[in-house]
Symmetry: D2
């Protein structure tokens, strides 16, 4: 349904980069849930542009609830998130209407909307739309946390620089996750972190941009959630992740690494530990047959380099069909991967909560 997704809980997204506001509606929330606004704002903070690593368009991104929130708690009716666009400089884009930006949706959008789209700053395609996603996901995340489910995301690699792996020991992992969730630049290894920052700064100096791979881990999620085919956990999570602008790949557990393994290596041996059936390794990323098996859920999301760069690029004027040399003005990010991490967390929380709700719907009626 285009800008709406979800079964028992749903999100509907709206707005444009240079319109007056952007937002989202979260429907299907349990009533009486007390939203921790500080925690929500911290998620917003992680997504915010700031410092040298990001665009100089600094938006307050003040989350405002128009409905569904009463006396500090959810009402159970649609919760509407509204975020004003305050720092728009639309004149930067006026020259760009027909001048297609390579790597952006401009050409595709012209073909789809016949030129009626709001082209300013990418319009509805803008990464700004991820701000209400983060707010909505932050609420879902709090609901999951109240049930003992935690999640964290780090930059697994950025332009060839790799971070450490997550610990396999659950206690160490919990500590890593807590640390990550406090960081604005989410890297486990400090040295790797500094190298990545330097790489982004260098890209900025070069009027260029870089991408990378995010890795997300979820602990405490119950076994038996998800469906065999079209509502598999992988289907649901991937559907959501590819809704994020700039995501071009996703993999679960070993991911594309499976292509180089034998079955005898790829299968996670099953053991009993502390009286609980689990797997010895977790190459399948906590999911078999589309369903959670009780191990941590692990997936990787590839973020392509930001398409907006300051270098001159070859392009075309859509109206005149003449080739042009494009110099994008405006304010851009040499990397968005560290900001995208908040969006990945948000949609992961949303997707898992929805699947879990569906699970509850059915199991409530079991004998």
């Amino acid at each position: 349904m285009k800008n709406t997704f979800g079964n028992n809980i749903s999100i509907t997204l709206f707005g444009e980069s240079h319109g007056e506001a952007i937002g989202a509606i979260l429907d299907g929330l349990p009533a009486g849930f007390e939203i921790d606004l500080d925690k929500l704002n911290w998620e917003m903070e992680k997504r915010k542009a700031k410092g040298k690593l990001s665009t100089r368009r600094h938006e307050a991104d003040q989350v405002h609830f128009v409905s569904g929130f009463f006396e500090g708690k959810t009402t159970g009716t649609p919760l509407t998130i509204l975020i004003e666009n305050t720092n728009t400089r639309s004149q930067d884009y006026a020259q760009l209407k027909y001048r297609l930006r390579p790597g952006h949706a401009d050409l595709a959008a012209f073909e789809k909307y016949n030129g009626y789209q709001d082209y300013r700053g990418g319009g509805h395609f803008s990464g700004r739309l991820t701000a209400p996603i983060v707010a909505a996901g932050a609420i879902c995340r709090q609901i999951l946390e109240a049930k003992g489910v935690n999640l964290a995301t780090h930059i697994q690699s950025l332009h060839g620089i790799s971070d450490d792996n997550f610990a396999s020991n659950l206690d160490d992992l919990a500590k890593q996750m807590a640390d990550l969730n406090q960081k604005e630049f989410p890297v486990l290894n400090m040295e790797a972190s500094e190298k990545m920052v330097a790489e982004i700064e260098q890209a900025s100096v070069n009027l260029d941009s870089v991408g990378g791979v995010l890795q997300t881990i979820v602990t405490g999620f119950p076994a038996g959630v998800g469906e065999p085919f079209f509502d598999s956990i992988e289907s649901t999570i991937s559907h959501l992740m590819f809704s994020i602008p700039a995501v071009k790949g996703i993999s679960f557990g070993e991911g594309f690494g499976f292509a180089n393994l034998y079955g005898s290596q790829a299968n996670d041996p099953i053991i009993v530990q502390d009286g609980k059936i689990q797997t010895q390794t977790n190459r399948n990323g906590g999911i078999n047959g589309g369903i959670s098996n009780g191990m941590p859920i692990v997936f990787q999301t590839c973020i392509k380099p930001t398409p907006s760069i300051y270098q001159k690029q070859h392009s075309v004027n859509y109206q005149t069909k003449e080739e042009v040399i494009l110099e994008i003005k405006g304010r851009h990010d040499p990397a968005i991967i560290h900001r995208a991490r908040a969006v990945v967390d948000a949609l992961c929380a949303f997707g898992l909560l929805d699947l879990w709700m569906s699970h509850q719907a059915t199991t409530s009626f079991e004998a």
Copy 2:
């Protein structure tokens, strides 16, 4: 909706490996479409187990239309595909009910269904369920082909052995695609093909299995189809691909390779060629902002090694919670990637047809 997917055209899947039949319902087909049964059966043939590369469970996989098909044509009402299970040897699995097979859905299924699932041969989780998917997708594919849309998939890599790339020249590409679509083992380069076959045979000798990466290309698909967020082409295709058992990763265009590129390399320059605006390169795989840009759509799907292997494996008896050494009997595939290719083609055709239909729904009402 669990086993149903799609908006304007939908597929509903049912059946178990050792039940009497499996099948699918395809709803929303245009009326009066003449199904080419030879072409449909050729798609079924590609998915079929045969020879040394596959399981010795050889099923006729005779596609039977129970409804929606009248006098050789679609009626426009639900088309029901039924495929009998003829060659079941359920006794092979009786010992397995509580003995969880590593890499399979067994543990997850027990957690989800409390032991009430049909465990024989994987039950509803079985790869056999992909047979009706192939039949349904073959019909969608014919509808697309009638509109000038073609698709083909090759094994891009198998356990370290790589195939050639698709040609960038459209004429050469068309020839490659036509050739691939005639092959049961879909590899462009003959030498690579032989090496891959040898690798699978060796894995079989070792009582082991291998996986790999499929790459799919679609030509002739119109620009402007897809949606900015939750109905992006990537979201739709990935949702469907992760419905296929054994898929653990998907990427579009350069995919995870984007992580090592600069923005200046990742952006496809825009040019005019033959009076048509297009991109010079196609690193974005024909999709920007979730919407087709008129270039070929390209994506990669990672297939993990078949989890059923003949080696002894460490496992657990779900009922007794005792550790066991498992030797899987039954009949298994040392590789399924060449058969999975027919399923990938089928779901790709289904997904693109559905998105295109949605596009038509809206644009029909434009001024």
Copy 3:
């Protein structure tokens, strides 16, 4: 989604009157539910044509589970219901392809499917499609009954002949409901019942047909289920009821009688009885604001007279556009209202179970 409906539990319908089989897929069932086949078959029996009141096309309507049913219980995966068409006399209809039957879907179907529809016996539009609906609903009904929810339907009126009202006293009501559920011709008052039967027989003698109004009551359904707007109980139930061929009206509680009441009469006073808040009267039929209030749910469904009658009728040949005098052969029902009652019960059970499941999905996450 055309032939699929439902959120947490869904039904997908397929088949044609003179095809080899008709059926339905019920997805989202709890695993391990033991289906009482005798009770299911009794529901089928109520819908069956028999005696002088119905068509002489007598179908066995043997329900067969192709999937989702294992060792006497639901597996939790899609349950496929298949019912063979055994007693087809398609030659009766051959003359009818282009001769549009008044009151039937023939003209509309031609416009929709361009003549590719299976026209024999109404094809996919046939009342036969309600047989798998009854089977599917019977399972939902058993799940509801296991939770203390009961339902019953009587013929409130038939061509001017009225039945008694349901008792307002819950004990008397329970007895009425139990009695009704044992009757094939569901009328509370014996005298009214005999008059109605005589009326149908007279209509049959006149080569004509009659319709009427069914009234359904549901007890034990919990308060607080349903949604304020698009998933209101009324929206869901009416959506399902209008899926039944021949239904042309639905109303809840006082229904169209509200048009003649003052607000002071229409409002049900709220009282406390046996420590429970409830309403003194039940003019609103157990639903306020789309949500159950704990009182019995009551609604009326209007069934139009069977359109197939043996009288000569004015019509048109679709192909030649010439006016014709039509004499419908085949085997028809002078009334279907008593059989439709089983369909109404089935879809009512399905709809309420789905809404209740959605309720559980959300409330499971309340603090």
Copy 4:
């Protein structure tokens, strides 16, 4: 999906009576459609409270587009409608939180939301939510009108006072419809109109309220749109109508009158007129088998008397479970049927547009 409805075009509803704003998101609109704001505001005007017949809460109901509207035209991305609540007097309701108003959703809402709902003025259940529905539907209506589809609604009856019937002659009907669409109190017969107004005024004097039946007619809608079962026109329209607070019944064509007809009377004879196949009468209200047959679509919607009345009523305090005598303060309508007419028109336009879009999606792929 709770507060979202539709397939190819969807509406999502949000807000509460005494929150800061209410609104709706309309997604799936064609791009480049020029919205006639005067016509849209005229629809808003019809729904507005004014004069002696309505509540003294007079809201500006100024429609504001937050997104999806650019340079006077739709962009094709989600169009967000926001309407501020300006004239709230929440203190009127403070005493009412636990004092359940008979005929309202109060009791049901407490059961559903555990007391966390915004209770002020009915919160999310308020009739105010129909204001954004009217705005959204007004846009759909303009799209239909541009394709030659017209609709109109009159008060067929109000507390026993009946209006004239619609003309069967299409020219006379067109004139009637045009006239109706210009009236704020939509009655064909002037004398009946005056009697109805007097009846409402008298109810107001009596501190009471009245309801009635609306009849809607749609001309110019193409034949062949709709689906045999769950997406029948009747299912879709009824689903939407029962989303309107106070609607308790709906019927199509002859509606409940069918219960007193013989089949020979109920069947519309088929004829050829002006070279077009149509029916001589239109007892089936333009729909057979769930699909439009090319005749005007006709349906009746029953609106119960406004539950808010100034008389003393028996009720209960939800918290204390003590019986109370309730005197509702606040500002209420002695009748809402004339205002509800704008909501019925709006949702009718929305539903028919969505069904037509789905039709186009499929038929675009017919040979």
